[in-house]
Symmetry: C2
Subunit: 200 residues, 2 copies
């Protein structure tokens, strides 16, 4: 059982649009284009009250490029303040593998952390901590937290002042900002439409 | 639907043991005794693979003393690294109320944050962030994070160096450590039994 459900439009969007976006640019940029577009869909699609915040994420098996899971912000529709895109993607990835860490414990290969988290915006304080527990080997982010705060009004919480170093010393590579302008444009579009800012 | 399920023994334990513990000491101490005992039950009860880590939490409506939700660490049984006791308690509390924040938005009463999170151990980096988004008005904790790390070997992640001030400037009162010796004893018992340390 998946603890965080996704709305039905997500899978068909991935097949009709998402996969083309991944293929439209090389490497990190393709995945980032996909999660940024998915972040926008998440507040454009669905009825009032079913829409989420302007954030999306994906867990990708880097050696093969396969998508293990997608995540979108589900705070409002699931009545759960912890249902951020990264949390949803990480939980769904682990539950799909049936293990609480994405690390491949018994792998003979040198790289025991083959999964990368792509997120349309830098992790808030909660999601930063979650990444440390998740077993991912890398995080690639779009918008910077300071831009998310400026553009949307969300409070990103007490992010550790040396967060990149804190991840790296735990063996997690950090890449970003990637396509920050495109990511910021989605955040601005969300705010311009006066969507809900669900601060605690 | 609750995104994080609890095992069936929790409710009967609350009725036979937990409520007596709450009544056995005044104020914060009673609730803390309960969550510390629940943290121990969480690795004593259940079959191998169904047991969780030595952590428990509760969301309490402070004006009435009523329990809105309980949380226990469910990382291993639910294959979800984010299923910490605090995350489970907060998500279950919000889903019970049917709202993404525990703040009472339209309350005429002065105190629009009547809910307190009790946790047997200080929040890790992830749960610290989660508290900011949750809408609780207060956090009361047992063991200190540095003791959790020393006694169990868990990595608590990049906790903001001024985490108490960061919570307080967001209107969240911090109380603790409360009954730290009792809380530490449970962590030590867990380690002595060589239970799994599920680091990312």
């Amino acid at each position: 059982m998946q603890s965080f459900t996704l709305p039905t439009w997500v899978n068909s969007w991935l097949e009709t649009t998402g996969r083309d976006l991944i293929a439209s640019a090389p490497g990190d940029q393709g995945y980032m284009k996909m999660v940024i577009a998915l972040a926008k869909e998440n507040f454009m699609q669905g009825a009032e009250g079913e829409q989420g915040g302007p954030f999306a994420a994906a867990v990708i098996h880097k050696p093969t490029g396969e998508i293990l899971s997608l995540g979108i912000n589900r705070v409002v529709p699931l009545h759960t303040s912890t249902a951020h895109a990264e949390m949803v993607a990480l939980a769904r990835a682990q539950q799909t593998l049936g293990q609480f860490s994405l690390r491949q414990e018994n792998h003979l290969d040198e790289d025991d952390r083959p999964y990368t988290l792509y997120t349309s915006a830098q992790m808030c304080a909660m999601c930063l901590g979650a990444v440390c527990w998740s077993g991912v080997g890398e995080v690639v982010y779009g918008a910077r937290a300071e831009d998310t705060e400026k553009l949307t009004g969300f409070d990103e919480g007490p992010i550790h002042p040396h967060w990149k170093e804190e991840l790296e010393k735990r063996g997690i590579k950090v890449t970003g900002p990637v396509l920050a302008q495109e990511a910021n444009a989605v955040l601005k579009a969300y705010k311009d439409q006066s969507h809900i800012i669900y601060a605690g």
